[in-house]
């Protein structure tokens, strides 16, 4: 109970900044719109490649949802870097607050943002003619996988932030990871059309787990076995990353 209350208090810090700064809110909402329209226009022609089935908006929507979740989650650690530099982190750490709540609260905030962004993408894609074969349930699964993947990357981002304590390090890590993770998956291109080795690598890529599960649930005849398996993997990953991030606080304190 205390842990939950503390987690929510930490999450509230992020929520306040988000709600009180219209510019943040606007950017967070504009970003999914721009991504969907931009990628949609750019890759429209892939449907003409022989072997590509179906509509590109149906194919692309889960890919954009997942890509945006990774990107949004990646910056989560920035807040802790600011806290470390300003002295807020040290004040929190001399309190008997559960260290897990510091990470979890920040992850809750990141996931809330991702859910809002996902809903925006889903609605916009619907307006553009996307066909959610999986219905509301399928869309909820898409939101769930985006949230789980986002939670994993938010924790990782926090861990990097608390260990490296420098903006440059986090910016480097996010920009380094985002494109390979996206392109080594079926986010933007159908499995049958990517080179074989990318298909192999993608099997171990969490971004691809989320894309496959989300696409299967929302856009296709749902493959429950695949979805359950991928959701399980993502939940496990999110948990491992959260434990890593929680331990990062001890490492930070040891380095003081």
């Amino acid at each position: 109970m205390t842990a939950l209350r503390q987690t929510w208090q930490v999450a509230l810090r992020g929520v306040r900044v988000f709600v009180r700064n219209p510019a943040y809110l606007g950017m967070a909402l504009m970003q999914p719109i721009i991504w969907l329209l931009l990628f949609g226009a750019l890759f429209k022609a892939v449907t003409q490649i022989p072997g590509f089935d179906g509509s590109y908006i149906d194919f692309l929507t889960p890919g954009i949802v997942v890509m945006l979740a990774v990107s949004s989650a990646g910056w989560t650690g920035m807040a802790f870097i600011e806290d470390i530099q300003s002295g807020v982190m040290d004040r929190m750490l001399v309190a008997p607050v559960w260290r897990g709540a510091l990470n979890a609260g920040s992850v809750v905030y990141a996931v809330l943002t991702i859910v809002i962004q996902t809903v925006v993408i889903v609605l916009l894609a619907l307006a553009l003619g996307a066909d959610y074969v999986g219905g509301v349930g399928g869309v909820l699964v898409l939101i769930l996988v985006a949230a789980l993947l986002g939670a994993a990357f938010a924790s990782l981002s926090n861990a990097i932030a608390v260990l490296a304590r420098q903006r440059e390090a986090l910016i480097g890590a996010v920009t380094f990871a985002l494109l390979p993770l996206t392109f080594l998956s079926t986010a933007l291109m159908q499995q049958s059309l990517v080179p074989g080795w990318i298909g192999t690598v993608a099997k171990f890529n969490p971004v691809n787990w989320a894309v496959e599960a989300g696409r299967s649930a929302a856009m296709q005849e749902i493959d429950w076995g695949l979805v359950a398996g991928r959701v399980g993997l993502l939940a496990g990953l999110a948990l491992v990353c959260a434990m890593l991030a929680t331990r990062a606080f001890s490492a930070y304190q040891r380095s003081l």
Binding site: R13, S86, D90, P96
Partner: protein, 324 residues
Amino acid sequence: MDVAVEANDLRKTYDPAVTALDGLSLSVESATIFGLLGPNGAGKSTTVRVLSTLCRPDSGSARVAGIDVLAEPVRVRHAIGVVAQKHGADPEATGRENLVLGGEFYGITGRELRQRVAQALERFGLVDAADRKARTYSGGMQRRLDIAMGLLHRPQVLFLDEPTTGLDPEARVEMWREIERLAGEERMTILLTTHHLEEADRLASRLAIVDRGRVVAEGTPDQLKRELDGDTIQIELADPEVAGARVALGRVAGVDDVQLDGRTLRARAHDGSAAIPAVLAALGAHGVTATSVTLARPSLDDVYLRHAGRAFRTPKTELVEVAA
């Protein structure tokens, strides 16, 4: 004697080979204000970080409120309040929100928390600013919010790391009153670091002078001042550079370190008030007229410089310069 804070032989080295603590030991009696005095980089803040469980020493041991800091850091955290040098408040949250966040971190909730927050805002004069972002607070207000946050859970031991740095004189005096009140009325043990001599002299009942990671002198402010043997006698002469004045004074028993600087003659005496008649007689016998005599007790400045002091000026050097 009830000991609230105890540190034994704390050592800590940072890479590469920077010694922050080099065998630091101290002991703070319950319900008193203890001052850690020393130059920047002496190890004061590192001591506070170790005692407040923020970081661990390489070796040594410490107890705070009777609890082993290394073995049971979480219990120690419940018993202490910490106001660090940097502001600890979230600038994007209001004063009230910061206090609520802090309270929840100590497990205080519900009506109890709301009451304490309201009391804290009242007591630290932040009622009008309670619902403004901490970012908009003045330096003095931020400091008061920091202290309010450090006190919300009613700690037994409060660590104040340079609490008045950056405050204007008025806010500083106000802060001093509050600190005195905490130790006096609320029987709180306060460990205060400062490089402000006036602050240490006024607030602390005991002082430790820290230099290069160890305590180089410890005692009450008066004891430390007494350690500097003797008083300073300063005599203004009617005529400058009177030949023999220095020599005459040097012959008076119990007076030494005589320096002449223009019209000003300075000397140190073991017991200044007892030496003055003999000093004046000796000057008179040599035909030297004094226009004024002042006697100064050593200040904490002198103690500080002597113990912490790369900046300590030896009178001998000055004498040579004057003579040349």
